[in-house]
């Protein structure tokens, strides 16, 4: 809850901001696969974003993707994560050979894991230095470290005595 310190804010402004925020959440996470209990059900990949003094760190859960199967593109303060999740039947050839197993009769008891191509666009809190962005993929977690653009970094201003 915001408190008024300047005296300029009007209660209706605050209400409008609150509605914008709620509406923004709805637009940012459309229920592509129904209203899941986890936000990741709506947007893939799910991301955690942290901001330190000199960089922005984006972590994304991309199980099943090998390095090289996910594209990371950064421009200014926008990041796009693109790729395709393999279908399990493509990745796992039938255990027994022979012509009969070319099209094995497969029954799915559960299909909770998503497949297919994805593209996720994120707006970072500040502009970053695209040339210095580094991405690592370990155990299905993508970590993208983006050093802030020089103009977005805090710099110390020397106070001189008169």
């Amino acid at each position: 809850m915001q408190t008024y310190r300047t005296g300029f804010a009007h209660p209706l402004d605050e209400l409008r901001d609150e509605l914008d925020r709620l509406w923004g959440n709805l637009v940012a996470a459309p229920p592509l696969h129904g209203w899941g209990s986890r936000p990741s059900a709506a947007a893939f990949p799910a991301v955690n974003v942290r901001e330190t003094a000199d960089s922005v760190i984006v972590e994304a859960e991309v199980p099943g993707l090998a390095a090289g199967a996910v594209d990371v593109a950064v421009t200014g303060d926008e990041m796009v994560l693109k790729g395709s999740r393999p279908r399990p039947e493509d990745a796992e050839p039938a255990a027994e050979g022979g012509e009969a197993s070319r099209t094995p009769a497969v029954t799915w008891h559960r299909r909770e894991r998503g497949t297919g191509s994805f593209e996720r666009r994120l707006t970072l809190p500040v502009a970053v230095d695209a040339a210095k962005v580094e991405a690592r993929l370990v155990d299905g977690v993508l970590t993208v470290t983006c050093p802030k653009a020089p103009e977005a970094q805090p710099h110390k201003v020397q106070v001189r005595s008169a």
Binding site: E51, P63, G64, W108, H109, G140
Partner: protein
């Protein structure tokens, strides 16, 4: 008796214990290929050494440990939590549980549960008379 041939989720066997970190249920695919059943679970962040797959009293349990990462800076957006994964499945008695095999790659755990040879569907060759 159809239930016995299908791995079924066993909520009683999934231990609920007080932990400081939350425990998550991984998303799974379960695929029946006749000779075996595949259980594929998304456990991003888990390490291969931290994964236990156990079979006891007809229940196959997955426990994948996710090492804590030291958070730096301030969270701007938090869409997923970090914690271990646990999920259990009840298996019927037509599986060869001594031959259960599991492999882990890129955050995905794949468990192969072979059917006993005696109950595998067999294709009968029809020969022209």
């Amino acid at each position: 008796m159809t239930t016995a041939t299908t791995p079924r989720e066993d909520s009683r066997a999934t231990p609920v214990q007080p932990e400081t970190r939350l425990t998550y249920q991984p998303n799974v695919d379960i695929c029946d290929r006749g000779s075996e059943v595949l259980i594929v679970a998304d456990v991003p962040g888990a390490t291969a050494e931290g994964i236990d797959v156990t079979f006891e009293d007809g229940v196959l349990s997955i426990h994948a440990r996710v090492p804590a990462r030291e958070p730096s800076g301030r969270a701007v957006r938090q869409e997923y939590g970090i914690g271990d994964y646990r999920r259990s499945f009840r298996l019927g008695d037509d599986f060869d549980t001594s031959q259960i095999a599991a492999d882990y790659r890129d955050g995905v755990l794949t468990i192969h549960v072979p059917r006993l040879a005696a109950v595998r569907p067999r294709k009968v060759e029809v020969r022209p008379g």
